[in-house]
Symmetry: C2
Subunit: 506 residues, 2 copies
C-alpha cells in the first residue's frame, strides 16, 4: 500500500477499535450506575473478553506494517499536522503494546484484579500482612513492564509515560521540589492565622433531591451540555466519554455533606467539558482523544477549585443555591466561601484541601520512585509512609487504613500515576493565569465574570487552547502553546498565596 | 484439529462473538432509555460498526471449516445432546449467513433503515405514493434473500425460518385456517352478548409514580427477579437480555391508561422470565439462547393474557393494586376483569384484544404469502388490505395510516415475521393447558393458585419444560415434548371459548 492508503487503513482500523472501546466505556458506566446486582459475573467476563479483543487489534502486526509505510512519508510533514500527529501517537501506542509480552499483560491484569479485591478485604482491618504479597507481586510486575517497555532515563519513566506522554521523573523532580519548598511555609502561615472557617455550614442536612438539583444547576452553569450528557449517582464519582455527543458524569450524595456532591459533580463536569470540547470528527484517532491524565486533571481542578471555590462564583451561585437548599438561606457569602476553602492537614488525600493536597501526592511520588529504583521494598512501605507523613503534614496515621492502605491505586496496578494529579494542579494554575491575562483583568477580571454568571468566555478560551487539539501536541508542548510558559510551580503558588491571604486575612 | 478441539474452538469463538452481541444489546437498551439526545449520530455509527464486526465473525471461513470437522463426529450422537444441538444450530446460522451475499446484506440493512424513516414520515399523512418505492425495494430484496438462502417448499419458508426455525408456510396454513374458521363465529357470539364492559374504569387518572409501583409489584409477583433485571420507561416497550443475571424490561406510561403500562410491563416480564430462565452456563451457545420468536411470544402472551387477565390474578392483585392506585378503590372485581378483557373489533393490531388479535395477524400473513408468491404486487396492497379487513373484522380503515401503513414491520424489512405472533398465542394455550393438567385442576386449578398469589409453580413448570432448554430442540419438537401434542389451534379455542363464555355470560 502507498503511504496514504496505509494511513487510511490505519484510520479505519483505529475507528473500528474505538467503537469497541466506546462500548467498553458504556459497559463500565452501566456497571457503576444501572446494572442489576446479579449481572456482575457476566459483566466481568464480558469486559475481559472485549479488552482482549481490543488488545489483539492494537497489537495486530498489520498495524506495525501500515505504520512503517505511512511513517516514511507523513513524518516529513509539519510534525503537528493532523496526519503526522496521528501517525506519531499510533506508533507510540503500538510500540508500547507490542513490547509488553502477552503473558505479562495477562499477569498484570490478573494481579491488579486480585490486588484490588485483596485491598478491599484487608483495608478495613489494616491487615497489611495479608495484603503485602499482592502488592509485592504488582510492584514486581510493574518493574518488569518498565524493563519491557524501555526508557531513556529510569524505570519510572516507562510507567509514567503511559499516563503522561513524554513526562519523566527527572523532568518532574525539580518542579515538585520547588513546590514543596513553598507549600510548607504557606501551610504554616495559614494554620497560624486567627481566622477560623466554620465548616458546620456544610454538614447541615440537605435532602438528596435538592442536592441533585444543585449539582445539575452548577454543572449547567459552567457549560456542561445536558443534551450531550447525563449526571448520575455512584459510589466513586467519575466522568466518561462514550463518544461525541455523549459524555457522562456521576457524583456521590451524602445528606450531611452537600459540598461533597457539589464539588464532586463540578470536578467531573470539568473533565466532561474537556471531553465535550474534543472535535467529534476526529473520533477514534489521536487528534480525537484527550492527551494525558495531567491535562485532564488540569480541567477538572480548574473548574472545581479556581472557578467553583472562588468568591465570584458564589456571589453568583449562592442565591441560586439557596433556592434549592433551605439550609443555605441566610448564610453569609464570606462564611460560605471560607468554609468551602478551609485548610487543615488531614490523613486522607481525597479529603484534602487545595493547599495540602499536593503534599499527599508528593508523598506517594517519593515512595513510588524509591520502589521503582529498588531503594525501598514493599514490605518497608508502612514505615516510610508514616515518616513522610510526619515530615510533610505533621501527622501520624493511627491505622494503616488511614495511611499506606488508604488508596486503591497501587493495589489496582496503578503505579507511576500519582504525579498526574499535581501536574493537573500546576497546569490548571498556569492556564488560569494565562486566561486571565488574555481575557483581561487577570484573576480579578475572571472573578468579576464569574460573579456575573459568565463562564462561557473561560470555557471558550480552554476550548481553543486545549480541548480542540486532542492529542495533536504532547502535553508539555500543548501547555507551552496555551500559556507561553514551561511547566512551573510559580503560577500555582501565586494563585494559592493570593487566594489564601485574602481568605484568612494574612 | 480433531472434532473435539474444533468444537472447543467454535464454542470459544461463539462466546466471544456473544459478548459483542451483549454489548450491542446494552447499546440498544441505553439508546432507548438513557442516552442523551446528541449521542444519536455516534451511536448509529457505532452500532453499524459492531454489527459489521459480528457479521464478519459469523461468516468467518474458519467457522465453516471447524463445523465440517466437528460435525462428522458429533452428529452421530444423540441429536439433542448439548454438543450435537450446538453444532446443528451453528451450522444453520453459518449456512444462512454465508448464503446471503455481503452486498445483499448491506442493501437490505440500508433499505430497512431508509424504509423505516420513510414510513415514519409518510404514515401521519397516509402518503402511500412516497412510501411505496421503499416498500417495493424491501419486498424485492427480501425475495432475493429467499432465493439466496434457498427453501424446500416455497420462498416464504426461507424468511420465516429466520424467526421460527423449521417452520413453513405449508405447516402453518392448515392450523391458521382452522383458527380462522372458529374465531369468527366466537367473535360474533361475543358481539351479540348483552353484557357490556365498562372500559372507562381504565381511563381514570393514575399518576405515573403509582403506575411505576404497580408495574414493579406485578412483575415481581409473577417472578421477575429485580436483582437480575430492571424496569425502565420507553416509547416502545421491549425486553432485552444483556446476559445471565441481567435481563431488562421497559414499558410506556400514559396517565389515562394505566392498563397499557401494566399489561405492557407484564408482557415484557413474560419475555424476561424466559430469558432469566435460560441457564447462564450456556451463554454464547445455542443451548443458551431462546429458540424462536414464536416460543418467546408464547411466554409473554401466557403471562400477559392467561395469567394477568385472569379472574384469579385479580382476586389476588386488585387489593394490592388499590394500595398504589386510588382510582381502583371500590372497583368491583368482575367489572375490572371484564374491562381488561373487553372485545371489540378494531383497526389497529397493537390495540386488539385476545379474540381479534389473531385476525390481524392472519390478514398480514395472507398478504405476505401473496407478495412472496408474486400473486400480489406491493402497489396493490392497500386494496387487498381493506378487502381482508372487511372480510375478517368487518371494518374499513378510513385512512391508510389506520390500515396498510399502521405497522413498521414491513417498512423495516421484517417480512415473514408476523405469524410468530399467532404461533405464540397457540403455543401459550397449549402450554397453559398442559401445565394445568400436570399441576392439577386444569384451568380452574391454575386460577385458584393465582388467586392465592401463587405463580411460582407455573413458572417452575415453564422453566423445566421450555426455558432451561434454550435452542436444544427446534420449536415444534420443544413444544411436542412440553405439551405432548402437535401444534394445533384447539387449545387456544378451548381457552378463549371458556373464558369469554364466562366473562360475557354466553
Amino acid at each position: 500500500m502507498p503511504p496514504r492508503e496505509s494511513y487510511d487503513w490505519l484510520r479505519a482500523h483505529a475507528v473500528e477499535t474505538a467503537y469497541i472501546g466506546s462500548a467498553l466505556a458504556l459497559l463500565h458506566w452501566d456497571q457503576s450506575t444501572k446494572m442489576p446486582a446479579a449481572g456482575h459475573a457476566h459483566r466481568a467476563a464480558q469486559v475481559a473478553s472485549l479488552t482482549g479483543l481490543l488488545h489483539a487489534r492494537r497489537t495486530d502486526p498489520r498495524v506495525g506494517e501500515a505504520l512503517a509505510k505511512a511513517r516514511a512519508e507523513l513524518l516529513r510533514d509539519d510534525p503537528h499536522s493532523e496526519l503526522a500527529a496521528n501517525v506519531r501517537e499510533w506508533q507510540r501506542a503500538y510500540d508500547r503494546a507490542v513490547r509488553i509480552p502477552a503473558d505479562l499483560a495477562v499477569a498484570t491484569a490478573r494481579a491488579a484484579a486480585l490486588g484490588e479485591t485483596a485491598w478491599q478485604r484487608a483495608r478495613p482491618g489494616s491487615d497489611w500482612r495479608s495484603f503485602l504479597p499482592y502488592l509485592e507481586e504488582i510492584v514486581r510486575l510493574r518493574r518488569e513492564e518498565a524493563e519491557a517497555v524501555g526508557y531513556a532515563g529510569e524505570p519510572y519513566d516507562a510507567l509514567l509515560d503511559e499516563y503522561e506522554p513524554g513526562e519523566t521523573a527527572a523532568g518532574l523532580e525539580p518542579v515538585l521540589a520547588g513546590l514543596r519548598r513553598e507549600l510548607v511555609p504557606l501551610l504554616d502561615r495559614i494554620l497560624g492565622a486567627p481566622r477560623r472557617p466554620d465548616r458546620t455550614l456544610l454538614s447541615r442536612h440537605v435532602p438528596l433531591e435538592a442536592q441533585r438539583a444543585l449539582c445539575r444547576e452548577a454543572a449547567a452553569a459552567i457549560g456542561f451540555d445536558f443534551e450531550a450528557g447525563r449526571l448520575d449517582s455512584t459510589a466513586h464519582p467519575f466522568s466518561t466519554r462514550i463518544g461525541p455527543g455523549d459524555v457522562r458524569i456521576t457524583t456521590r450524595y451524602n445528606e450531611h455533606a452537600f459540598d461533597e456532591a457539589l464539588f464532586g459533580a463540578i470536578h467531573e463536569a470539568g473533565h466532561a467539558l474537556y471531553s465535550q470540547g474534543i472535535p467529534g470528527a476526529h473520533f477514534g484517532t489521536p487528534c480525537g482523544v484527550s492527551v494525558s491524565l495531567g491535562v485532564h486533571e488540569s480541567q477538572s481542578r480548574l473548574w472545581e477549585n479556581m472557578v467553583a471555590r472562588s468568591r465570584g462564583f458564589w456571589r453568583h451561585f449562592l442565591p441560586r443555591a439557596a433556592g434549592h437548599v433551605a439550609a443555605l438561606e441566610g448564610v453569609a457569602l464570606d462564611d460560605l466561601v471560607l468554609a468551602v476553602n478551609a485548610v487543615r492537614p488531614s490523613l486522607i488525600r481525597t479529603e484534602a484541601d487545595e493547599v495540602t493536597y499536593n503534599l499527599h501526592v508528593l508523598l506517594r511520588f517519593g515512595l513510588e520512585l524509591a520502589l521503582l529504583r529498588g531503594q525501598l521494598q514493599p514490605r518497608d512501605l508502612p514505615g516510610a509512609w508514616d515518616e513522610a507523613m510526619r515530615s510533610l503534614l505533621g501527622l501520624t496515621p493511627p491505622e494503616l487504613a488511614d495511611g499506606v492502605m488508604q488508596d486503591v491505586h497501587w493495589a489496582a496496578g496503578l503505579v507511576g500515576y500519582f504525579p498526574t494529579y499535581t501536574l493537573g494542579n500546576l497546569y490548571a494554575a498556569q492556564l488560569f493565569e494565562a486566561a486571565g491575562r488574555e481575557l483581561g483583568g487577570g484573576a480579578q477580571g475572571l472573578d468579576e465574570r464569574f460573579a456575573a454568571g459568565e463562564f462561557a468566555s473561560l470555557l471558550e478560551w480552554l476550548r481553543a487552547k486545549v480541548h480542540v487539539h486532542g492529542s495533536r501536541y504532547a502535553p508539555r508542548e500543548l501547555m507551552r502553546r496555551a500559556t507561553g510558559a514551561e511547566l512551573d510551580h510559580g503560577a500555582f503558588m501565586r494563585y494559592l498565596t493570593a487566594k489564601y491571604e485574602a481568605l484568612y486575612g494574612l
